[in-house]
């Protein structure tokens, strides 16, 4: 996981690193390319798709349709924390109202809790300022998850001249706040699951039959 201790001998690992460096130089973005495959981002920048989701413009709704709930997408990149540890906090606040989530994070002792609380408060402010949300507490956490950031690699010295490559872990945190009340999902019982399974079996058809 975090400290990937691939114990190897010095020379072969150095050769491996040199090969990796050469390959990355060969695959560097070219200056002259046909129009269909222009890379405007480098490998180091990563995907910024979550931030782009805020710029989506929907069609105007007809008057009889129910009002589409306002959605706010927010994220923080390159947090110095493990994505696996951050996942537990993200999982805890899924589906909660924003006030509940902030309360839980305030009294949690983990390092990521303070960071997620900051992100939620920023997102709440963004929602009220620029996303047409009327009441700042009328939001709930629709989606919340963590992703792997770009790691730094360091050498961790073991005994007998061996060494491993240590990863300095970073993570991203993504959250989507939606206006309104969170939809309550009925907990699926075993009986419901069995019923669905039987229905799936009954829906099967024999192809190319009469």
């Amino acid at each position: 996981m975090a400290a990937s201790c691939a114990v190897g001998l010095g020379v072969s690992l150095a050769r491996g690193l040199v090969r990796y460096a050469e390959a990355s130089r060969l695959l560097a973005p070219c200056r002259v390319l046909p129009q269909s495959c222009i890379h405007t981002t480098t490998a180091l920048e990563g995907n910024k798709n979550w931030e782009r989701k805020n710029r989506v413009l929907h069609q105007p709704q007809p008057p009889e349709e129910t009002r589409r709930a306002a959605e706010v997408f927010h994220c923080r990149r390159q947090i110095k924390y493990s994505k696996d540890k951050m996942w537990y906090l993200a999982k805890m606040i899924r589906g909660m109202t924003i006030e509940q989530a902030i309360a839980q994070l305030e009294f949690n002792d983990k390092k990521g809790a303070a960071i997620i609380k900051e992100v939620l408060l920023e997102a709440q402010e963004m929602a009220v300022k620029s996303h047409n949300v009327e009441y700042k507490s009328n939001l709930y956490v629709a989606e919340s998850f963590s992703g792997k950031g770009q790691y730094l690699k360091r050498i961790r010295i073991h005994g007998r001249g061996m060494f491993g490559i240590m990863d300095k872990v970073y993570c991203h945190y993504f959250v989507k706040l939606v206006e309104g009340v969170a939809p309550t999902e009925e907990p699926r019982t075993g009986f419901d699951q069995a019923k669905e399974y039987v229905q799936q079996l009954r829906n099967r058809t024999i192809i190319h039959s009469l």
Partner: protein
């Protein structure tokens, strides 16, 4: 002419000691020792790993003992003092302590009498006759009762 057969300078044992072989046996014993160590037999699949990492025992429990403070309205835990109110009191006491330090001058110079903190517009009462007085140039805070 008799050829002189080279003889050993030292009459040692018949079998020569071989230091080179000792190094090899050391390497072998290091690798041999690994044989008796516990090692995983198979790779743990991601499904098995997920079952272990996500089972309810490892998930964070949500706290049900959070309530708003009756004084300031910030959130607090039921069995813990409100953090905001505590910080407010801590700042005021830090200022009072600074004034006491300035009054005393050097460390371990406190007089053997009680201390009374007086805010703006307050006179020392008769009961505060021989006590040390610390003046604070502000209105008395509501939470610091005089009597």
């Amino acid at each position: 002419m008799c050829t002189v057969v080279p003889a050993l300078a030292v009459q040692g044992p018949g079998i020569f000691p071989q230091p080179h072989r000792n190094e090899e046996t050391e390497e072998h014993s290091f690798l041999d020792n690994i044989f008796w160590m516990a090692a995983p037999k198979k790779r743990r699949t991601i499904e098995v790993n997920r079952c272990r990492r996500r089972n309810p025992q490892k998930l964070i429990e949500i706290k049900t003992n959070i309530e708003p403070c009756s004084e300031c309205g910030n959130l607090k835990q039921k069995h813990v003092l409100c953090g905001f109110c505590y910080e407010k009191v801590r700042r005021e006491t830090a200022i009072i302590r600074g004034q006491i330090q300035a009054q005393e001058g050097k460390p371990l110079n406190n007089p053997a009498v009680e201390t009374v903190v007086l805010y703006e517009g307050e006179k020392p009462a008769d009961t505060d006759a021989g006590k040390r007085i610390v003046e604070r140039k502000r209105q008395r805070p509501s939470w610091f009762t005089q009597y």
